[in-house]
Every structure is written in C-alpha cells, then in structure tokens.
Amino acid sequence: MGGLRAVRWVGISLAFAAGFLAACAVLSRLVSPTPIGGGRIEWVREHAADYDTLFVGSSRTFRQVMPSVFDAVMAESGRPTRSFNLALPGMRPPEDAYVIERALEGRTAPLRFLVVECNPVRIGIPPEDRETARAVYWHDAPRMRALLGRALAPSSLDPDASLDGAVVRRHLVELADHARHWVWNATRIGRGAELLQHALAPQQRARSALRLGPDGDGFQPRPPEREGFGGAEREAYLEALREALPQPHRLRYGDAESQAELMRKRALAEGHSGRLVLVAPPYLQVPFAPLPELGIPFLDFSDPQRYPELFDAENRNDGGHLNARGAAIYSRLLAEALRAALDGEPAP
C-alpha cells in the first residue's frame, strides 16, 4: 500500500516536472532573454557589418577602453579597425562567453579581433546581483557545464594538485545557486512583466534605453561626479603600489576549466574569421594568463614597472580603475601593443 502511494507521488512529481519543463521549453523558444546593458548585445548583432573588433570584459574594459582612441591609433598604423566596447561591469567568465556567442550569432561579416579581458572562470554570484535580471540572463547549459567543470577542477594546473574537499563543498553550494538561476532563466523569469511594462509605459523605461555611449561605440565614461580618487583609499593604493613596484612580475594560469574556456573563446573568434586577443588590464594583482602553448596573443598591462603612467594615481579613479585620462592612455597603449604583437615586436 505504502509502495503504491510512493509510486503515485513519484508519478505526480514527474507530471509536475514535465508540465514545468514543457512550459519552459515553449517560453525559451518564444521569448529571448532580457536585453542586458541597454540592449548593446542586440545592437552589435544587428549592426554586425559596422564593427570588426569587439572588446569584452568587466568594468576594467567597460570604463577604460575607448574604441575611438583605439581605432585612431590602429588607423595611423595602417590597420584600420571599427571597434565596439561590449563590456559590462562585473562581467567575468563564463558570462563573457555567453555575451560573445549572442553577439556573434548569425554574423556573416568577418570579425578581425575579439579582444577579451583575461579572467578565470568565476563560480558564485556577487550578493548584490543575486536574483536580478543581470545574474539570470546568461545561465544556460554551456555556462552551467563550464561552472560544473570549474567546481570539480583542482585550483591549480599542477599535475599533482588535488581537490580540496572544503573548496569543492563551497563550490557546490555556489553551483546550487547557479542552478537556481539557470531554472529561472529557462522560465525567462521577469520577461513577461518587463514586456508588459514596456508595452504599457514605454516612457517610464527611458532609463533602460539603448546605451551606446557618447560616441556610439559602447564606451561609457564614468559620470564626472563619480570621478575622483583621494583620501584613505588613495593612500592605501599608493602603499600597495610601493610594495608592488620592487616585486618581479608574475603570471598565474589558474585551473584547467578556465584555460579550456579560453580555448572555447578562441574557437568562437576563429569561427568568424577573427582572432582572439587576451588582455590583462592595469591592476595591482597577479594576472591570470593563457598557457603559452595555446599561442593566444596576451597583452599584459598589469606590470606597474612597465606601464607607470597607467598606475599613476593621477590617472586612476580608484585602486582598480582608471579615470577618463587614464582610459585614453590605456586605449592608445592597447592599440600600440596589439599592433606590435601583430608585427611580432615587443609591446611598447
């Protein structure tokens, strides 16, 4: 009797799951995920022929790479580009791969460069982003596979490295949170409410209007009121800089899944006749780098000895980001470094 009841409840649960999944499948097919970043991804997809170079990364790209400066320097060197800054604040792998895939979807125009900020796969969602459209939209099956791979991979590429039980447990808790967002994404959570809101009150949604920046190239300068680097934060930065300067510059290669993610991005770029270029932005931290044997160009700006102007406090907005002046310098150096890499010369 008890067995029969259990079978009945299992059947009912399966029917519930089937109904849920069927509805999810219909919704996923009919409705696209929420446009994030003011619809910039959709813009790039629709205007594929207008851009041959894409910058992808976090706020260290979003607020620091000026396509207009980059294109001007590239044109001067005889390799004109038409670039677009597709970065989003807080974006780390594997989210960036999702953005790249969406942006290149159906693209027929050839891509020249896919310039990606080099970061390892991040597991876990920042608390301030949890349960927001920002965290939900990129959770799909390939991203979940990458996260699972990261959760179960040793943190080092050392062949003797083993899994740390405590770390794996923490990762699995984070993975459960990702799984929840994945399910939400499958239901296109909030999309119905948003579409309704767009239809009924379009003017109220003005703040989410397409954000291409003042030059129409995706670069968003920081509002002037948010510029400024002073006080204790500046002192702490200068202290950290003083400590970092005498240190030899080092690289870290992270874990196997993060390296595999880089290879997937390379395949994506090559699939559209483009070339993947990885960048370590100017930041006082040991940068994550691709394994040399992958042969991916890697432009490393994280060495304060080599790029003192990028670490000058006058050119920075905080310890992690450049200000508008620093961004212009960085964009120029980025173009020069890319040109040098293409010519097989050492970076400037």
């Binding site: 519930f16 089937a18 109904g19 509805a23 919704l27 349960e131 920002r134 239901t187 409410a193 009924l200």
Partner: protein
C-alpha cells in the same frame, strides 16, 4: 541598554512565501512534521520550526542561525538577535496570565491579571512601534515653540510581526478573562498558537478560541486536501508575485513625482495601488492559509472580495477580516459600541477606526486613513437611518462604485506616507526602474555602509530596492496626498506627464473581470475534476508561467512593515 533597542548593522532579508528558499524550508518542516508519530512531538517540532523561522528574519539563512549565534557569543551579535526571545517572553507572560485569571478568587484579581497582560503586551508594542512617533511629534512641538530638544533621538527597529502576535496573544488573555475559553494548561499548545509561523509575520490574526482546540486534536496527513492547498498557494503566489509586484512599478513611478502626472495617471496609479495592496495582502493570506492547512491547521479567512462591498461597513466585514473583527470585539464593543446615543456611537466608530489606522503604523497619514473610514462608517450609519427604504433601493446601483471610490481616495494618504530614500543620506530617491528590472550598470551606487544606517520604527528594507530604505514619514506625506487628491478630483489640477498607455486601463479591467468571475465562483471548481497527473502537469506549467510573469526582484509584503 540603548544598544539593545537601537539596531544597527545590516538586517537579514525577510523570508518571503514567494521565494524558492521558503519552499525548501517548508518542505523540511512539512516532511518532519508528518514523519513524527506523536501529536506532542509534532507540536514541539512546529514550535522549534516557528521560532527558527522567525529568527531567520533577523539572522538570515536558517543554516547560519546557530553558527551566527555562536559567533555572536564571542563578538558582535546579529541585528535583532533577541527579538525571537521577546516572542517567547510574551508567550510565557500570557500563559501565566491565563492561569492567573482562572485561579484568581475575586473579579478584582482577574482584572489585575488582565491589566498586566494589556500593560505588558501593549507596552512592548507601544515602545517599539510608537516611541519614534511620540518622540518625533514632541520634538516637532518643541521646535515649533522655538526651543531646542536636549536629547538625541533613539532609533528603534520594529520587530517583524509584533503588531500581529501582540493582538493574537491579547485575544487569548481577553477570552480567558471573559470566560469564553478555559486557560490553556499546556504551555506547548499556547506557544504553538502564538508562534505558528504561517501567520506569525502578517496574520491572519487568529483567535485563541478557534486555534487552541486544533492543537488538542489529532491531525492526519490523509485529511489534508493537498490539491486544494496547492491551488490556494498558487493563487496567492500569482496575486503577490505577478499582480501586486507587477503593478508596484506604476504606483512607485507615479508617487515618485505625483505633481508631474495628469489626472488620468492619478486615477490609473490609485487603481493600481488598490489592486496592488489587495493582491499583496490577500495573496500573503492565501499562502499562509494554504501552508497552515498543509500542516493540518485551519486559519480564519482574511478577505472576501472587499472591493465589491456596497458600503464601508460591509467593506470592513470583508477586508482584513481578522483585524476588523478583533477591533470590533475587543475595542469597539468594550467602548460601548452602538449601545448609547448617536454621538456616543459616532465617537466609538471614529475612535476604533483612528486606532485601527494607527495600528498600521506610527504616522499621521495612517490616522487620516482611519479617520476617513471612520467618517464613512458614520455617514453610512446615518444614511441607513435617515433614507427611506425606497430611496435606498433606488440608489443601490450606486453603492458599490461609491464605496470603492471612497476606499480608493482613502488609500491616498495610506500610500503617500511612504518614500524611498537613499539609506546613507536620507535624501529622497527615485528608484523606479531599479526596483523592477535593475541591472548592475543602472543601479544607484551607494556605499555598502548604506544599509548600516540605524533603522527606525517604520523603516523597512525592501529586497527589491538595494541601497535604499523605505521610510514611513511620521508627519510628512500630506503634501503628496493633497497633490494626488487634487489630481483625482479637481479638473485641471494636475501635471502633463502620462503614466502609461490606455492598455493599462484594459489590464486593470481584465483583472477586475477575473476577480468578479472568481467572486461568482466561476473559477472555483473546474480544476477539481482533473485527474492527478493532469492537475500536476498543469500546476507545473502554471509555475513556469508565473515565474515568467513575475518581476525578477522580490519585494517584501507590504504588511510586513506593520
């Protein structure tokens, strides 16, 4: 001592019935509850679960409860860590009061025990809920007299649910005092009654007479109407997460700058707010009733299609029924009810409604809201007395729209007292788009310390509005209310901006039609006839559709702040 009352630091996020984590927590409670064999063990489990659930409102993740408390013993305790103990103390007091009343030899002794319960319960409620109101008004008066107050304001955090559980435990003492109920001998039964988690935070305010007998009865899982409970919970979820939270966007947009919008927008916003607050609160009540039923307990209904009422007195028999009947039985009738002169009855009606308004929050806008309802009750009473039956019959068609319009106008001060402020500076903040569909790049960037401003009575942190505190203004809000009333009632007395397309009107009409059909029981039974597998499949599809239609960000239930 000051530190004990004056909360600081980041508050834990309230657990909402519409969140997935609640479903996990409830699945655990449900599973253990029905796995236990003895009734006593089940009640003990419910008590532990209810207190832990309540503690999670202050401490956060249930899994972090004991580690945090342990860590707190050696360092800083989480905000409000002792509020669950307050709930326990209230239970202990009323247990003793019940026994004391029954054991007292003289009416005077019985009265003394009752007064102790009233003084202690209302004293605690008054301190936490009304100290800020009192202090701010005294301060305003002193400043009005061109003097300077010599004390620093004490910021007090309002424990969740205190208005609800205080009224609930008071109902026990009063019922025992009146001889309507024997004193409860089992502390466990009384503790389960007061702390029962489905209704602990925002009601319904259950009467001891209806709940305590249920704690003595044997419960069987086979008696639980699982399908009915699942349907009721799903309906509550859709009301809260899809309708109320969806309409909140329009209401917040309008109230962020009411002077800029036209009259159409004012009506649309107020209709949206009427639907929002009804769906928010009745959705919560539906879910609370469903969850309680799944555990074998029956809670009283809280709503009965109140917007179809033909008079304000009928409205109060159908809106927040557990509170209105509480106020009627324990305030209006003890005040003398209608057993006296006309003026005496008017006074009682007005006093009951003013205090009912004040129960909702320590702000003059709530008092005004209560006052408007008091006026309408008096007017209706006089109309019923003076108008001839034929006149009343002839104008009956006007009753429902007129009542609804008055209720709508009364919602204006109720809502106008609320304002979102940047938590770090206290300046008004426009968070319209962010609350609905925030993105990292769009979100206002306030320092993390933003949430560390000491909350005070009436403030509440809305999970949908990070970096902001929703502040209940003690004496403000009337300017906003006047602007909205003017836009609603005075031709040309409004701005130019339009809140939404006419489609919003069609949406509201659709919601009203569904509500009307539901009232006629048109949607009540069809799902009963489905086979189990079809019902489960449909429920699964409905769950996916509800997630599609709900905004991503959660919003706290409006009544959590009361």
């Amino acid at each position: 001592m000051t530190e004990l009352f004056a909360a600081s630091g980041e508050l834990a996020r309230p657990i909402l019935f519409v969140e997935l984590r609640f479903l996990w927590i409830f699945a655990g409670i449900f599973g253990v509850h029905w796995a236990l064999r003895s009734q006593r063990a089940r009640k003990l489990w419910l008590l532990v679960a209810s207190h832990s659930f309540y503690a999670c409102f202050f401490i956060g993740n249930p899994l972090e409860f004991f580690p945090k408390l342990l860590a707190g013993a050696f360092g800083e305790l989480p905000v409000g860590w002792w509020f669950p103990a307050l709930l326990g103390l209230s239970t202990l007091l009323d247990y003793q009061v019940g026994l004391g009343i029954e054991g007292a030899r003289s009416p005077r002794g019985r009265r003394a025990w009752l007064l102790l319960s009233l003084a202690a319960n209302l004293g605690v409620l008054g301190f936490f809920k009304y100290y800020g109101f009192f202090e701010e008004n005294v301060r305003a008066l002193i400043e009005f007299l061109n003097l300077t107050p010599s004390w620093e304001p004490l910021r007090i955090f309002l424990p969740y649910g205190i208005s609800f559980y205080t009224f609930q435990s008071l109902s026990y003492s009063i019922e025992v005092y009146r001889g309507q109920l024997p004193a409860e001998r089992s502390f466990l039964n009384l503790a389960v009654f007061i702390a029962f988690f489905p209704q602990l935070i925002a009601g319904p305010i259950v009467r001891a007479m209806s709940f305590l007998p249920q704690t003595r009865r044997a419960h069987r899982l086979a008696d639980v109407d699982v399908r009915g409970c699942a349907t009721l919970f799903a309906v509550g979820f859709v009301k809260k997460a899809c309708v109320a939270d969806g309409l909140a966007f329009f209401v917040d947009a309008y109230f962020s700058a009411p002077a800029q919008y036209d009259a159409w927008s004012a009506w649309a916003a107020m209709l949206c707010y009427a639907a929002q607050i009804y769906c928010d609160f009745s959705g919560y009540s539906d879910m609370a009733i469903a969850v309680a039923r799944l555990l074998g307990y029956e809670l009283c209904p809280n709503f009965d299609f109140p917007y179809f009422s033909a008079s304000v007195s009928e409205f109060w028999r159908r809106w927040h029924m557990s509170l209105s009947s509480w106020l009627r039985d324990y305030l209006y009738i003890p005040l003398g009810g209608n057993r006296g002169s006309r003026l005496f009855t008017w006074r009682n009606l007005m006093l009951t409604m003013l205090l009912g308004g004040l129960w909702h929050g320590a702000a003059w806008t709530f008092v005004a809201w209560g006052g408007m309802h008091g006026l309408a009750l008096i007017a209706h009473r006089e109309w019923a007395r003076l108008a001839s039956p034929s006149l009343r019959g002839a104008l009956r068609w006007l009753a429902v729209p007129l009542t609804f319009t008055w209720v709508l106008l009364a919602w204006v001060p109720f809502r106008a007292g609320d304002v979102y402020v940047a938590a770090d500076s206290g300046r008004p903040l426009r968070l319209v788009a962010d609350g609905f569909y925030r993105e990292h790049a769009e979100r206002p960037r306030f320092p993390r310390s933003a949430l560390e401003r000491a909350p005070r009575s009436g403030d509440w942190h809305d999970p949908g509005q990070p970096g902001a505190v929703r502040v209940r203004r003690v004496s403000g809000g009337f300017g906003t209310a006047a602007t909205v009333w003017r836009a609603l009632l005075v031709p040309g007395g409004a701005g130019e901006r339009r809140l939404a397309q006419p489609g919003l009107g069609a949406l509201l009409a659709l919601l009203a039609a569904v509500h009307w059909i539901n009232q006629r029981r048109g949607l009540a039974r069809w799902w009963r006839a489905l086979p189990d597998w079809a019902y489960a499949g449909l429920l699964g599809a409905a769950a996916a559709a509800a997630l599609f239609l709900k905004p991503v960000a959660y919003r706290a239930f409006i009544y959590f702040q009361f």
